[in-house]
């Protein structure tokens, strides 16, 4: 173990510098500087969190879903897909707020619940 700066450290330092620059900019320059800071954040998190997922496994899952050999009745499918989605959002937008199924049930308690079930079972 040596003290060389890691790739993620270098990225973070660039992002910090750019963020300070952005505060001195105005208008479109400031906006695009903030986009660039966010972009560096994504790259840093991807480097730190990448699990080396297999592109082949992903393609096989897509093909099975397309062919219908796996569908929404396959046990565990939603759990797996939610884990995939949560991993990717942790890289792309760690502070993103997504409504849960519980939110939807609560929202639907405004007297429109039965319509939801009719549609879901059609």
């Amino acid at each position: 173990m040596n003290g060389d700066p890691s790739a993620t450290e270098i990225l973070a330092a660039i992002a910090d510098w750019l963020d300070a620059q952005a505060k001195q900019m105005a208008g479109r320059d400031a906006y695009f500087a903030r986009v660039a800071v966010n972009a560096l954040g994504i790259v840093g998190r991807e480097l730190a969190m990448s699990v080396g997922g297999s592109a082949n496994a992903n393609a096989a899952l897509c093909a099975a879903l397309r062919a219908g050999t796996i569908d929404e009745t396959t046990p565990g499918l939603f759990g797996d897909l939610k884990a995939l989605a949560r991993h990717q959002i942790a890289i792309d937008q760690p502070h993103y707020r997504s409504p849960t199924l519980l939110n939807l049930e609560t929202d639907s308690s405004h007297g429109h619940r039965s319509g939801s079930r009719d549609r879901a079972e059609s």
Binding site: A39, C62, I89, P99
Partner: protein, 334 residues
């Protein structure tokens, strides 16, 4: 066209834009869409300065059909007139430009003051008073849009749910999509696609971001009619409720400002017929799936050189937000 060339063409038109319009001033670009440009400018004349807005598209930049669903601006102009007649708040049509105007495919409308930035509308204290009224206002406006006759000069395509989903699945495959969540979405939603026996005029992109809001009066203009088509009324309502336009205010499903009940109640009162909540949730899922594909389209626009920008590339990384929202909606439907 350069700003100088646009100013020159507008100067020739000035007398037709306002009474006594003489000169054009203060032309500035408002948006940097891939092909559609929006410009603000002043027409000066004896009675002072009038601010107008020019929307124009470089000739032939609507893409190859599979990648764009935009209608021509002359159809958008016809829809603006029809919407105004139907009591829908819109910017007033000033001129549907002709080829001899020298501006290409273009339309000129009145400037409307207000806020369109979705995050401010969903979270800024300035809109705290008006915010609770906006969902019902959306319901009333959508009911009026859905009762509009198709303008005689506008050839609007009709897409039922299955066709709408298929359009985006085609794009997804052309872009070499490989997302298990989107694959499941295409299959589940296609199997559940309802028929559409009575298609209506849809805005097609009615969401927080395309609504001009005044802090005292609420919605003062519905903008960006370029994705208008005919289809299921629930499509517009579901699109408005896609989580990506809530800007973090996820507990307020209608655009980050209101509840489903207010939207649907006001819609039913104005239209005289209800849209079932389940239909809205179905179309919210379709809308979320479409947003995921649109994120992929942004990356394609960058890579092809058509509209290279870091901003577009980064919107590609918003596909995962749509996937996360979609998988929850699909689990609810399953």
């Amino acid at each position: 066209m350069t700003p100088e060339a646009i100013t020159a063409a507008l100067s020739r038109l000035a007398p037709a834009l306002t009474p006594g319009g003489a000169t054009i001033d203060a032309l500035s670009r408002l948006s940097t869409g891939a092909s559609l440009e929006t410009w603000s400018f002043l027409v000066r004349g004896p009675s002072g300065a009038t601010r107008l807005v020019l929307r124009r598209r470089e000739r032939g930049e609507r893409g190859d059909g599979a990648f764009t669903n935009s209608i021509p601006l002359r159809d958008e102009a016809a829809l603006l007139s029809a919407a105004a007649a139907a009591g829908v708040p819109v910017a007033r049509l000033v001129r549907a430009c002709q080829p001899e105007d020298g501006l290409g495919e273009a339309v000129i409308v009145s400037h409307v003051d207000g806020e369109t930035r979705g995050r401010r509308l969903a979270t800024d204290e300035r809109f705290a008073t008006i915010r609770p009224t906006l969902a019902a206002q959306c319901g009333r406006i959508l009911a009026r849009i859905h009762a509009m006759p198709v303008p005689a000069t506008a050839a609007l395509a009709t897409y039922d749910a299955a066709a709408e989903i298929a359009r985006y699945e085609t794009i997804y495959h052309r872009l070499d999509g490989a997302s298990p969540i989107l694959e499941l979405g295409f299959r589940m939603l296609t199997r559940r696609a309802p028929p559409c026996p009575n298609p209506v005029v849809l805005h097609g992109d009615f969401r927080n971001g395309n609504l001009m809001i005044d802090a005292a009066h609420g919605i003062v203009a519905v903008l960006d009619w370029e994705l208008s088509h005919r289809g299921d009324p629930a499509e517009d309502l579901g699109w408005l409720c896609v989580n990506s336009w809530r800007f973090g205010a996820v507990e307020r499903p209608v655009g980050g400002f209101g509840d489903y009940a207010d939207l649907l109640g006001a819609y039913e009162a104005e239209a005289g017929r209800a849209v079932p909540f389940g239909a809205v949730l179905f179309w919210q899922a379709v809308g979320t799936l479409k947003w995921a594909v649109m994120c992929m389209m942004m990356v394609a626009a960058h890579r092809s050189g058509e509209a290279p920008s870091l901003e577009r590339l980064m919107i590609g990384r918003r596909r995962s937000e749509a996937e996360l929202d979609l998988v929850t909606l699909l689990e609810g439907l399953a």
